[in-house]
Symmetry: D2
Subunit: 455 residues, 4 copies
């Protein structure tokens, strides 16, 4: 069964009492197999039992699934009495022995159950899918949180970056892997095999991380264009019929898409490491490439703009401009030359302000900005009408950003960002942000903080 | 540096005060790198820092090593105050949140440090070696136990059996792997490449488990001879100049050696699973093979005999025989036909008694018996003068045992062994054990337990 | 440059005198490089010179190509005087020495030139493409025949079946190879990746032969459906949305397509061997499959029918039926239930007669029949409206044939076919052929031959 | 059966009449299978028949083998009448058609037989072994020459350099391949696995050519030491216990051994190409290496010296020196310091003269010199007591030569050598050769040729 099908099962509606009772019986039976797997019998017949238990779980009908997860919570959690007893012993004498004892008592038997599940063929993939299912259902079943916590803990250990392999993806790659790229690509949709083929030509690169237990499932992949100069808009990069350039003449590598493939590995981050390994890899193959930059969306910009409407009315002097801003609602605004040109300076300033100044709990509001700045990249350039796709207009008002990765400054940038929440940006972007009406407003006497944050 | 060299460093003797001071400085520096690796900087420059920290550790001179491990204990352990606080919170309200919080507080930062170490190339191998070093030094540094516990916990997760691959080893295998077999073989020494080659001919099989991060280092390997009938002595199997038989005519597969290669993975057991997977593998290749049996030493027999001397004097009626028993001291006793033949019935009975009846904390005294019986094998046959090598005579008085693996009965045997400490043995062996003078003595009125344990 | 582009160049039209002169110069220059490659210099700098010469040839503009091939004919052929002298010496004394000498003299230097070309990277593929080009142009340049003969001789040696590897093609195969299947499939067009994917599901098999020097270019591939019963029509097999069956339950393997991919290897046949190796391969994987049969077109049937029009008018009694036969012209005839049903008996008889009796130089007229019967297959069954695609109707009047491969009878069938031109067919097909009006006519007194040929 | 065993069979002695008759019958039977393989039956059942025929041949007892080869000569050669008829037709009209017809008639059916043999598993290896056997027996069976010629022709096509792959051999290579190096090494014997291991350490390189049909049998391999400066003696390179140097600091690559492994491929040369590809390969890995030189024996030197004894007596003025020269007979002469030092100038001059001036049919007498000079290398330096092994002293009087490969001058050197038989040598070597007493003698008035040949 596909994962999508699975999720559907979770939320399927009315079930007859008889079906529910049967589903419950099957769920209890699956749990019995889990208990056997954890017992002595599991010690000696591990692989066979794991296979059996896993398949009992996979074949559960929807109403049984909830029962199964409920039982995973109730039957495989630590015994509070024993935890408390071990805590007491440790408090009385915080010796290594007592600590180790306490560590053992607080670890849920569920974790060992999951480790044994993993012995079954396909076990790793099944557990990753299980976490996805739990995450999807967490809102309606908050107590399943402990299942999520156990799986997240395991995955943090299993998907250690030291075990991952970086692989180049090209037209020589297996169709079973290529198909996954088409399915998962989240930034700029791949419309089919022809589109994919263009993205794997000589002037493009694609790399992915794989785990040895999931050799046909990329964990994360990144798409790169080898160009002359930093790309200022994404449509030419995506154009299926564009001529293939000679990569040996490129001076820039543009990361135009990075996609996590495994929902079940949420929170276990590979992106930072992937970008840096790819920079090194490309550096070896193309010594003439000097600039490594992204061409990234600003996905939170339009939503933020909307949330700032009131302030903008106060800050922008021209009612006409305010009108034009409201005109962004019209999906085709950017095709109307005059209006678009009039809006350009203001939108660029607002976006620069949004990226450099706007904060949420101290960090930039924009999630893509948080990711790249947190990795130590530098905000380099804002590009006008850089992504005119429906999604690009709707989320980012057509704007895109180049974040630049200089390996030599990445560590400092990262520390500045993490410790002082400082955003490292080019002079041009800072100037734009300072010109923003919101900044001017904020910068009035006695309100120095904001302006000075654009250093 | 080789691992053996490393161990030597640990116990090397007098060091000048200056050298010690320098070594201490380097150890402290290595620990600083470890702290950096755990910090924010480690987040972004993980792989590079891990490489640096690992290499600082690997290059420590001997006196620095102890300092380094001491600091690993003192600087990277949980904070007792925080552990106690989290325990209190949990006791007050044993909610999932409090449990998860407590779990986090009891986990030593060392574990995360080790996970980050693993990002360096060669990191996994280095950590496995580190545990070996710690284990070797545990007697003189008992407080390093916590390092061992953390590494053991990690390895239990990383070396999950679901991640291991079973590989056939033959003459097509890389020399770098074959060389490891020669180095590690612990049961019947491999004397060189010619010996190894014979063990990989058409009538032999060798399989090993590998972990994807240690592709040139087998974790454990097993050697099998394909024979007609169950082998009763090991020297013919090891004879380098024996003719190669046609494996298609074999009806038995004799497991004559199984060796763990990684001291640093002590306590993480693969042997049980390896044997069972190999049984399945051979079953596919050789449908005519019906019997899967070991040809195993009885390594604790002579030592136990010695410990039983007093009882034997009481139980054996013939002073001559007692004299012959004492003659086992003479390494060549078995070459003297008469003496050897006279001893045979008694020694066979004693060995059967040793395997079936002698107990230590309820379990068989013999470690090899514990391993195979714990895996669900059956004690099948005792073989006289089956291993006349120096080691075979010294430890096992030349006797060897066939343990038989029937996949269909393995689970029951295992449970009988684990729950009731019952040893499943053939009729012949039970008969032998009952005839043993010690059994007869033990079986006198009021001492039913022992005799009845030989069911 | 693609091969298709190359062919176009050959036939491109008007060329200016200046362009022609330049092209000629370049062709002469390429030939100079070929001469260097054959000289002493070629001995020591072979690979480098081969690369240079090959690239000079590949980059020739169209008018230069003809000059180049003309020079290949005139400059690299054996010297008639030397051939005649060696012949004379042999005639005078047919000794081994003289024979070997004569062999050397008759071998064109072109062959050695081609062997040296092959040292360049991509050399083998370039030579295969060269032969294709020569074959395509042979009608207008009959003297290029000697180039074709030399390449055919070389390829016969290089593409020896002992060097080919059989590979299963599935969804795990590289996209670069899969794409070739889409491009080359000649029997039932593959409409895209979705269509291809369905042909590689669990109830389908695809195998190809590869040569080690052309690892991304299948030489020939075959597509198989695993079914219950022998398929009687092809559209269900090709249906992209058909459910995937469980291959373990199949009792038949239907070869529904076999395609040669390399035009340049024309005349070097792999099909026979491929079918037999695939039968063995499938026999190992699916012991329950008992029948290996094709589902093949009858591509020459409609053309033959047309050529027989006169005889048919004489032989078929019913003018109405003759009218219906003429109605085959209408592409949609088969959709008209009545007409179609009325025609059925006659068309089936005619097709059986066509396959079993109609001859050209003693062999069956139909090329597909010649191929499978020559391989030792048996004509098993004729299927009505079995391929209703445009091509199927146009060439085969919608009929398809099952040829059955029984490995045990293949050799006898083959010899019967080759020696006596005897077609081995099922009783049903023979009966059909005998009922054919043409057969009845042929069987009139004094015309026994034909009828008796349907044994 | 091993190839060595096979050769032994060929020359085994007395055979009883009965055994001979049985052997003959089996040989005739094998030939019948060969005829079937060439027939129509072979067309359809090729692979199966090839396997059968090959195995009939392989299992022939010795006396049958000669019969078999005799029949291969008599039964599978061209028909003289048909060859003559085709010659006549060609003479009358040397058209392409007639030429192609003549080519077909002169090709022995044996060649097609061998091509079909090749379809059997292991066919290629068996044919290579067959040629070795024929070559070994050629002296006593000169008429088998035609078998040799046919196989040589086939192999020239099959083992085309474009099909070979260059592979690095190191400690990661399969033992089955490594073992072949130990068996075949012909220049400096490999004494066992330890010796081999040293030759594959970080400061050594080993490369081999493989053919895709013989993946476990290297065709030829070369051993390289990465050094600082050009090595002047070979024992340090071969020293098993020498410390492993850092290859990144090397400035020279010394080719100290090159060995052909397949006797059956005699006359099909790979050495030249291997050296050049290895130079390129090393250039990529070690940009700091500037000098590629051999350290080669002078294997014909002592034999030539002996043949020149008379002239030497006339040319060398000092009777004492003549005495010392005769002392070379004593295997230990070089250990006697004084004598050795006195001989040094004379021996060096003689060896230089031998390499530069001594000729056989216009080419240097020394086979190693012919090989490297023919490849375009330059004679660079003569090294005193450079190989003091028993073989080194016996054949080369302990001298070794460095031939230098400069890729940029290789082509010119090769042409000078081939066209003018000119030996390209360093100034030092030319000077040495000119000082040689034989040169002085040759250079007397009216005998300018020799001296001038040392340019």
């Amino acid at each position: 069964m596909s994962e999508a099908g699975f999720i559907k099962r979770l939320f399927r509606s009315v079930v007859s009492p008889g079906a529910r009772a049967r589903a419950d019986r099957r769920a209890r039976n699956a749990v019995l197999l889990c208990q056997a797997l954890l017992s002595e019998r599991g010690e000696v017949s591990g692989a066979a039992l794991a296979r059996e238990a896993l398949s009992a779980y996979r074949e559960l009908p929807e109403p049984g699934l909830a029962t199964f997860f409920d039982l995973l919570v109730s039957e495989f959690s630590p015994d509070p009495q024993r935890v408390i007893a071990a805590s007491e012993a440790y408090r009385a004498n915080p010796s290594p022995d007592h600590l180790i004892h306490l560590q053992r008592e607080v670890e849920p038997p569920r974790q060992e159950l999951f480790r044994r599940f993993n012995m079954a063929p396909g076990g790793t993939a099944a557990l990753v899918a299980m976490r996805w299912h739990v995450l999807e259902a967490l809102k309606s079943h908050p107590d399943w949180m402990v299942i999520d916590a156990d799986l997240a803990h395991l995955f943090g250990s299993w998907f250690n970056r030291g075990f991952l392999t970086l692989q180049r993806i090209d037209w020589r790659t297996s169709a079973i892997v290529l198909e996954k790229l088409i399915q998962h690509e989240a930034v700029h949709e791949i419309t089919g095999w022809k589109d994919l083929h263009r993205r794997l030509e000589a002037d493009r690169r694609c790399f992915a991380f794989f785990h040895p237990a999931l050799l046909e499932d990329p964990l994360i992949f990144i798409e790169v264009a080898l160009t002359r100069g930093i790309s200022a808009s994404v449509q030419p990069l995506l154009d299926v019929s564009s001529p293939v350039a000679n990569p040996a003449q490129a001076d820039s590598a543009i990361f135009y898409s990075i996609t996590n493939c495994q929902e079940g590995l949420r929170g276990i981050s590979f992106g930072n490491l992937l970008i840096k390994q790819v920079v090194q890899e490309l550096g070896r193959e193309f010594p003439r490439v000097k600039t490594y930059a992204t061409l990234s969306p600003v996905p939170g910009f339009r939503a933020w703009l909307k949330s700032m409407e009131e302030q903008l009315v106060g800050a922008v002097d021209s009612p006409a401009l305010i009108g034009e801003l409201r005109g962004l609602q019209d999906a085709e605004w950017f095709r109307r030359g005059g209006a678009s040109e009039r809006l350009r300076p203001l939108l660029m300033q607002l976006c620069a302000y949004y990226l450099l100044v706007a904060r949420q709990e101290g960090l930039p509001v924009d999630p893509v900005a948080r990711f790249h700045l947190g990795n130590g990249a530098r905000l380099e350039r804002l590009n006008w009408l850089a992504d005119t796709s429906e999604q690009g207009m709707r989320r980012s008002a057509g704007l895109m950003v180049n974040y630049v990765y200089h390996l030599s400054e990445v560590e400092n940038n990262h520390e500045a960002f993490v410790r002082e929440h400082r955003v490292v940006a080019s002079y041009g972007l800072k100037k734009l942000a300072r010109k923003c009406p919101l900044a001017r407003r904020a910068a009035r006497p006695g309100k120095k903080r904001v302006a000075s944050s654009i250093q």
